[in-house]
């Protein structure tokens, strides 16, 4: 990439917007995933009996079952949220940046 093009893109308001919005979004989702997973692991490490509590009096199913399945679902849902926004909003911004960079 030529320096002249680098300078042009770097100062493009769409580019500045894309980079800041996408970074914030990606980091937010990353932190949510880390909190969910390490939270789950630390509950097991510090209070192993908690997840073994029955869901309701007399039931065999424990709190751990919906929580564990919930962690799996959260991973899938978070990727879905990211892909949805990236394939729409972020790709549209990227397309505009590319068009401008080509000098159109």
């Amino acid at each position: 990439m030529k320096q002249e093009m680098v300078d042009r893109i770097k100062n493009d308001p769409d580019y500045i917007h894309l980079v800041s919005v996408r970074s914030r979004f990606a980091w937010t989702l990353t932190i949510i995933m880390l909190v969910i997973y390490f939270g789950f692991v630390l509950v097991i490490a510090f209070d192993p009996t908690y997840l073994g509590t029955p869901l309701s009096a007399g039931s065999v199913t424990t709190i751990g079952i919906p929580v564990g399945v919930g962690v799996i679902l959260s991973a899938f849902i978070l990727t879905g949220i990211y892909v949805r926004r990236a394939n729409g909003e972020f790709d549209e911004l990227t397309r505009r940046i590319k068009d401008k960079a080509k000098g159109n």
């Binding site: 990439m1 320096q3 093009m5 680098v6 893109i9 770097k10 580019y15 894309l18 980079v19 996408r22 990606a26 980091w27 989702l29 990353t30 995933m33 880390l34 969910i36 997973y37 390490f38 789950f40 692991v41 630390l42 097991i44 490490a45 510090f46 192993p48 009996t49 997840l51 073994g52 039931s59 065999v60 199913t61 424990t62 751990g64 079952i65 564990g68 399945v69 962690v71 799996i72 679902l73 991973a75 899938f76 978070l78 990727t79 879905g80 990211y82 892909v83 990236a86 394939n87 790709d91 990227t94 940046i97 590319k98 960079a101």
Partner: protein, 553 residues
């Protein structure tokens, strides 16, 4: 049974089921499984023939021309990740310990969203064939490529040994073939797929296998649930009656907080540093397809882990204590309810319980197909590191032509295949449970930090990456050797020098600190240029301007 269960859960730790260790017994020849497996091999060799005609350039060979769709790639990634050992191992873990099996599988899943948010798009926008393309983008080619290739090849070989030994044992169990014959068969088929069909054949082998595995596991889970009118409470209640209530709560898998976090770090960053997984991102046309790949892969893998949980409980209620699957000879000696072939056979026996001989044959054939697909992906990644990073970039300084590079890659594939067969036979009776753990630790401590910082940190220099990455690699290797899995279990010392099974927390920190320190203190002229080159790299990573496109087939 006790032996396998012990190795699976006890001394060897969480990665043991990936490695399928322990003594197994050869089973009688299983004809319906062999016939179905022969059909699979015939179909995949047909695909290899078709792929070979379309694999003309180096780009075709390494990335299937970059024309794989996001959905196909997601399926292939899931195929790479759902090994036979994880199918049989996780369901065996659930069968043996209940809830701990779920904790184990969750650890393997949560790396995927992080890969999507942090790595996937930038990797696609910057790279060509290997992750070293990205790591060395603005740094000095020779040292960084050498280190990255070394990290890749080490990871691949450790993983390959674990898969080959697992393959030999599994095939003894499922098909009643000799260990050596099984290992040679896997090695030869893998060489055929990769040398002739390259990435295109490897991808389709992965996709077909992922589909068969998901279909088979879905059928088993539905069959189990149908017995209980799709009511989980009654499934769990029956299982608790058979075993005891402890299977519904966390057991001994996660003990202290440091081990727990260290394991999480290894699984998360290790997944993001596995060369055969990273390479899959170059098979799609652009960042959008790369994103979709991870979305579908996460969905398939998560779904698969939920299925294995149901299958494990299904095995408790339908296989455990079922006289048909009981190993009477062992029971007479050890008591309890040992099942034929050991705990790793829980899912296999369940397939017989729900679908008879025919379905048993199907699941056995799928398990074999799974091994073939995984070793093919690994070998292709290892061969690419040799031909693209070492030969083309380091030895020929980027002046080789694509055809020559592809030839080197094919020779490397054959050599790796032979090495894998040889190591597979050598390690038959060794305790190899630490190898997958070590592979993840090295991927997390050497490959991932360099890759991540090369994309995110403008002040990274060659010196920092080289010293920090090497420190991470060495720390991981040394701590695994001094830790419980090698020092005590393999070398038979009484106490470990390093107390934790999973060194990733320490070795990854070491890598990041090393890279940071030796980068910021690097005042050389080349370091200055490397920092200045970040801006252009960053723009390409964000927008994909200048990125590799796809070719039409």
């Amino acid at each position: 049974m006790k032996q396998i269960l012990f190795l699976l859960l006890g001394s060897a730790g969480i990665f043991a089921s990936e490695a399928l260790t322990g003594a197994v017994e050869k089973q009688p020849l299983n004809m319906s499984a062999i016939i179905m497996f022969v059909i699979f091999v015939g179909a995949t060799l047909g695909i290899t023939y078709w792929a070979a005609k379309r694999t003309k350039t180096a780009k075709d060979f390494y990335t299937a021309g970059g024309g794989i769709t996001g959905f196909q790639n997601g399926m292939a990634i899931a195929g790479d990740y759902m090994s036979a050992a994880s199918f049989l191992g996780i369901s065996a873990l659930v069968y043996g310990k209940g809830y701990d099996g779920l904790i184990y599988s969750i650890g393997f899943l949560v790396g995927w969203p992080i890969i999507l948010f942090m790595v996937a798009e930038r990797l696609r926008n910057l790279g060509k064939y290997t992750f070293a393309d990205v790591a060395s983008y603005r740094l000095r080619q020779t040292p960084i490529r050498t280190l990255a290739a070394f990290g890749s090849i080490t990871t691949v070989i450790l993983y390959l040994i674990a898969q080959m030994v697992g393959a030999g044992k599994l095939i003894q169990l499922l098909f009643g073939l000799d260990y050596e014959i099984a290992v040679v068969l896997v090695g030869v088929l893998m060489i055929l797929y990769v040398t002739f069909g390259g990435m295109l054949a490897t991808t389709w082998v992965q996709i077909i296998k992922a589909f068969l595995l998901l279909a088979g596991a879905t059928f088993m889970a539905i069959a189990v649930m149908a017995h209980y009118n799709f009511n989980f409470e009654s499934l769990f209640a029956t299982a608790v009656q058979m075993k005891d209530v402890s299977i519904m709560a966390p057991g001994k898998l996660v003990s202290d907080p440091i081990s727990a976090i260290s394991l999480g770090v290894a699984l998360m960053f290790g997944t993001a540093g596995l060369p055969h997984i990273l390479m899959r991102f170059f098979t799609v046309s652009d960042a959008k397809e790369a994103r979709k790949s991870v979305f579908y892969a996460t969905g398939f893998i998560g779904y698969f882990y939920i299925l294995t949980f149901i299958i494990g409980f299904g095995a408790i209620v339908m296989v455990f204590q079922n006289p048909q699957y009981l190993d009477l000879a062992k029971q007479a000696v050890d008591g309890g309810y040992p099942i034929l072939g050991g705990d790793n056979m829980a899912a296999i026996h369940l397939s017989h319980a729900v679908g008879g001989d025919f379905f048993l044959g199907f699941i056995s054939a799928v398990a074999f197909a799974t091994i073939l697909a995984v070793v093919s992906g690994l070998t292709l990644a290892g061969a690419s590191a040799i031909s693209h990073d070492l030969y083309a970039s380091v030895i020929r300084k980027g002046k080789s032509d694509g055809l020559m590079e592809m030839k080197v890659s094919k020779v490397a594939t054959v050599v790796l295949g032979i090495v894998a067969i040889f190591l597979g036979i050598t390690f038959e009776d060794q305790n190899i449970a630490f190898m997958v753990g070590l592979a993840f630790a090295i991927a997390a401590s050497a490959n991932f930090p360099i890759l991540f910082l090369s994309m995110y940190w403008s002040k990274l220099t060659t010196r920092g990456a080289l010293i920090g990455g090497s420190l991470g690699l060495l720390t991981a290797a040394v701590l695994v050797v001094l830790g419980p899995t090698v020092w005590v279990d393999v070398l038979k010392h009484a106490d470990p020098i390093f107390p934790y099974k999973y060194p990733a927390l320490f070795s990854v920190s070491m890598a990041f600190i090393g890279i940071w320190f030796f980068s910021i203190t690097d005042n050389s002229e080349s370091a200055k240029q490397e920092k200045e080159a970040f801006e252009a790299q960053y723009i390409r990573s964000q927008t994909g301007i200048g990125a590799e496109g796809a070719v039409e087939h």
